[in-house]
């Protein structure tokens, strides 16, 4: 078990070193080799799904003493929720490597960076204390910096620096919170113990809890991103290469929400109850704002980026409502959004590789030249909108249902987000795929090939699977959600 947990962090790093060691003249080897290498972590995930009892709350697997003089240990562990996110990460990494074009596929720097990113994101989900959480949270900036910087679009410098500075600005709040928690922990137990068990036992006043909640949550919310901290996201998505976008939307945004679920709410519940409404308000504002701005976008990638803001708003609404159902919905929606937006970004990437433009007005009538692609895009759009039977519906329904008792007006407004989602997705679909094939360049576009189908196929299957059998996902997150819910419930004196 210990070695398995470590291998999720170390394997990707070893893989990337392996890729870097392959000589440059064997360029044709990079892609197949990295597909093979990234199958290993995914295989490990499957192995653990079958052989381990993963439906647990957070279980500490191992601890290493890091700074003995301060009593700081690095702790690694997992829970059902973090395990699902790790599996999602490993799957998306494999699929994004499958989906890369010739340009990126022959660059070992690109493939190596993706694997380093995979390792550090896994580290965030496996972290059992605040220090290792912070270390991995910031370490994932390095591969992301190079991914966006080297292989990004035209305006990549601006977007990369904005992304880095926003995240670092958020992370100094998390660092301050970590330090404050450590000092409090020192005052109550005599050691700077920052592991989750010790933090839960720190006795803190209501004000301290509020300050700490704000520090941590602010840092994580930038990563989510919550309106009005979202402005880095559209730039980052548009400029990042396809694989970068898939991982950014698929897992990096979840890091923020995961942090709030894992750290902010269970440990600083009083602060959560104080600022619950503010977060809910901003989330709903973000849902509507993101959706409206998505409607008017002329760039498909930017449209999906703004739709991400809207969808992550749903996640935050579910979290902030603090009901059992809404929390569960939020976690499910996190996974759903990873799958759907990953698929959408991948599809846009396929189109961009063929046509080298993402302007909606450049397309029209693509249904005739790329029927399969059109079908898959429509399917994914439906999942993103939240059509019953597909995964998006489950999460959004649970969130709206669960948060209604807490915030009646807000969740009623949020429900309009689903309508707006239908408008921007279907309108974009209409403009891209329906109508006449006016442009000659569009007429000669080839449909998806088998390689691309393999890349996007697993995501489509998952959309349907979670849509019809959501209790599979639910069974893994029950324990995590109960702990968060109990923490809220015991303080608020019973919401339901």
């Amino acid at each position: 078990m210990i070695s398995l947990a470590y291998s999720f962090i170390l394997l990707p790093i070893v893989n990337s070193i392996f890729i870097f060691l392959v000589p440059k003249r064997r360029g044709e080897l990079f892609r197949p080799l990295s597909i093979f290498l990234s199958l290993i972590p995914l295989g490990l995930c499957l192995y653990m799904f079958i052989n381990q009892d993963l439906k647990t709350s957070f279980v500490v697997v191992d601890s290493i003493s890091w700074i003995t003089a301060y009593g700081i240990d690095l702790i690694i562990g997992f829970s059902g929720m973090s395990f699902l996110l790790i599996s999602l990460n490993c799957l998306l990494v494999l699929l994004s490597i499958l989906s890369v074009n010739q340009d990126h596929g022959s660059s070992k720097g690109f493939l190596g960076s993706i694997m380093l990113l995979q390792g550090s994101v896994n580290g965030v989900f496996l972290a059992g204390d605040l220090i290792s959480l912070f270390i991995f949270f910031e370490a994932l900036l390095i591969p992301m910096y190079f991914l966006m910087g080297i292989w990004g679009g035209e305006n990549k410098r601006y977007a990369t620096i904005k992304f880095i500075l926003y995240t670092v600005f958020g992370s100094i709040f998390i660092l301050a919170g970590t330090i404050y928690t450590g000092v409090l922990s020192f005052q109550s137990s005599g050691a700077f113990a920052l592991d989750f068990d010790s933090i839960a036992n720190i006795s803190m006043t209501s004000n301290q809890s509020k300050v700490l909640f704000l520090l941590f949550t602010f840092g994580f919310l930038i990563k989510v991103p919550l309106f009005p901290l979202h402005t880095w996201l559209p730039d980052a998505h548009v400029e990042a290469p396809t694989a970068g976008s898939i991982l950014l939307a698929g897992v990096l945004l979840k890091v923020g929400a995961y942090g709030i679920l894992r750290v902010s709410i269970p440990f600083f519940t009083e602060g959560f109850l104080e600022y619950q409404f503010l977060i809910a308000f901003l989330s709903v504002f973000g849902i509507i704002y993101g959706a409206i701005v998505a409607i008017v976008q002329i760039d498909i990638k930017k449209l999906i980026a703004y739709s991400s803001i809207s969808h992550m708003g749903f996640v935050m609404l579910g979290i902030s409502a603090g009901r059992y159902l809404s929390l569960e919905g939020a976690v499910i929606q996190m996974i759903n959004h990873g799958i759907t937006s990953g698929a959408l970004f991948m599809l846009v990437g396929f189109l961009y590789d063929r046509r080298h433009t993402r302007r909606i007005s450049d397309f029209g009538g693509l249904k005739k030249s790329m029927p399969l692609y059109a079908g898959i895009f429509l399917f994914t759009s439906f999942a993103s909108i939240g059509l019953p039977g597909l995964n998006g519906f489950v999460g959004e329904f649970m969130i709206l249902m669960g948060s209604f008792p807490s915030f009646k007006i807000l969740s009623s407004i949020a429900a309009f987000g689903v309508v707006l989602a239908a408008i921007y997705m279907l309108w974009a679909y209409q403009r891209i795929f329906n109508g006449q094939l006016n442009n000659d360049e569009n007429a000669v576009l080839t449909d998806l090939n088998s390689k691309e189908l393999v890349a996007v196929g697993p995501l489509l299957i998952l959309m349907l699977f979670i849509g019809v059998y959501p209790s599979f996902v639910e069974s893994y997150i029950v324990n995590d959600v109960s702990i968060i819910y109990d923490a809220i419930n015991s303080l608020s004196g019973g919401l339901e």
Partner: protein
């Protein structure tokens, strides 16, 4: 005879590193002037000099185990944890820098060993400085060290910038020395002590409230003289010009040795001499720290010259280190860790610079490292490591040092300082990532050509980079050392 020696505490071991350095320098000078010997002989002399210096530092540890914290030469020389830490640090700085300095001396027009001799002499001065208990002794060490540095800065006589740097460094450095010695004399006139320990005893005796104003002024002036050496704002104006103008091969040494020794002296003054008036100068230091961090961050963000950028980044880092030292004993221990980590990264960066820019050149535009990664993978990767270390990204020693420093500041309830230092890390990410962007990411038609790196340089750079990563992953050992440094003042 022995009775007299015992009475004044005559002990050659305690100043043996200084003696070894001076002897080596003199032998080298003798060989250079009188005998037309070949390079090999001089190389052997220099190398054995450095090794014997390190051995002498080792001997001092033995003396320390035997005697503990003790004074020698009628309270002139002090043997304590700070001086041992300083000796080790300065010895390592010499060891890591002797290679680029040796290489650069062959590029001098006269092909002499004067750079090595100056380096050895200045190291001996700074060794004396961290060893001194008496403020006059401290001044002598400071001057021996600094004067050689002024000369080093101007060693490239044909380069106008180098001359300018040397003159500027000399003029401003002398001014700082004047301020320092004036402060010492004020302290002596009004308080009649010169020893750092006696000062604390005196303050403890009369009480912090009855310390005369003249003495306080003297203390502040003494500190200003030292703050000048660490380039803390508002005494930083010399740093960018000197860094830029001096031959690149020497800047790593010049920057690190002066900073290391001045910081250790400041730490000892704060922890020993001011222990009975701990909060007297808080607002002064707070002013210096905040100004350093703010000015350094702002100016570093707009630099086009890499050496100037490093100078302003040094101002920020000085602010960080100083903030811990003036906060208290645990902060000092964190600062010692920080100092060590910073010095390693600084030397590493300047060794890389001296390869790319040439040992003797002055200007180093940021565009000169364009596309470094294309032909120089090793240099680019290590350069990124050091830069990320300075920025304080996790997995490097820079993060650990910032983390423990800020933790201690928070524990001292210095929330204002913590927030300003945290904000400056965000600015730091901006200006440390800029060179990385240019070296690795920016597309260029004319990338930097492939540099011949000697095996010794490979070894040096990779060991410095390894230390940067190692102390980021496994910091416990160095943290324990940094806590040992302050153990007797806990």
């Amino acid at each position: 005879m022995k009775a007299i020696a015992d009475a004044i505490g005559f002990n050659l071991v305690v100043i043996s590193p200084t003696i070894a350095l001076v002897l080596t320098a003199l032998i080298l000078l003798f060989f250079t002037i009188t005998i037309e010997s070949n390079e090999k002989v001089k190389q052997v002399i220099t190398f054995s000099g450095v090794v014997s210096t390190l051995f002498c530092v080792f001997l001092k540890f033995g003396l320390f185990l035997q005697n503990g914290v003790s004074s020698y030469f009628s309270k002139k020389i002090l043997l304590d944890e700070f001086s041992l830490f300083g000796n080790v640090l300065i010895g390592l700085i010499l060891l890591f820098n002797i290679l680029p300095i040796w290489d650069s001396s062959s590029q001098l027009r006269e092909k002499t060993t004067e750079a090595i001799i100056l380096t050895l002499m200045s190291t001996s001065g700074f060794m004396l400085m961290v060893d001194s208990e008496n403020l006059i002794m401290l001044f002598i060490g400071l001057e021996i060290g600094s004067i050689s540095l002024y000369a080093l800065a101007g060693l490239n006589r044909v380069d106008k910038l180098s001359n300018e740097a040397s003159l500027k460094y000399f003029l401003l450095g002398s001014l700082a020395s004047c301020i320092f010695i004036y402060g010492v004399s004020l302290v002596y006139v009004s308080f009649s002590v010169l020893s750092v320990y006696d000062f604390a005893t005196g303050v403890g005796f009369v009480g912090a409230d009855s310390v005369p104003l003249t003495t306080k002024l003297g203390v502040i002036l003494t500190f200003i003289g030292l703050l000048f050496k660490i380039a803390a704002a508002p005494f930083q104006s010399w740093a960018p010009d000197v860094y830029q103008g001096s031959p690149t091969g020497y800047v790593g040494y010049m920057a690190s040795v002066a900073k290391a020794s001045a910081f250790i002296v400041i730490a000892r003054l704060c922890q020993v001499s001011l222990r009975f008036m701990p909060n007297e100068f808080d607002s002064f230091f707070l002013f210096v720290v905040i100004l350093s961090v703010v000015i350094g961050s702002i100016f570093a963000s707009v630099q086009d010259d890499l050496k100037r950028l490093l100078a302003y980044s040094g101002v920020v880092q000085s602010g960080f280190i100083l903030s811990g030292i003036v906060s208290g004993i645990n902060g000092t221990s964190a600062s010692m860790f920080y100092l060590f980590a910073y010095i390693i990264q600084l030397i590493g960066i300047f060794v890389i610079f001296s390869i790319i820019n040439g040992k003797m050149s002055s200007n180093f535009n940021i565009q000169d490292i364009q596309g470094l990664i294309i032909n120089n993978k090793f240099l680019a990767v290590t350069f990124c490591t050091f830069m990320l270390g300075l920025a304080g990204i996790p997995l490097t020693s820079g993060f650990v040092s910032k983390f423990i420093l800020l933790t201690n500041l928070w524990a001292y309830q210095k929330y204002l300082l913590v927030s300003i230092l945290l904000l400056s890390t965000v600015a730091g990410f901006y200006f440390y990532l800029k060179p990385i962007w240019i070296a690795t990411i920016e597309k260029t038609e004319t990338p930097v050509e492939n540099f011949k790196i000697k095996r010794s340089e490979y070894l040096l750079i990779s060991s410095l980079a390894t230390m940067t990563i190692f102390f980021g992953l496994v910091p416990s050992s160095l943290i324990n050392i940094s806590r040992w440094v302050v153990q007797s003042y806990l």
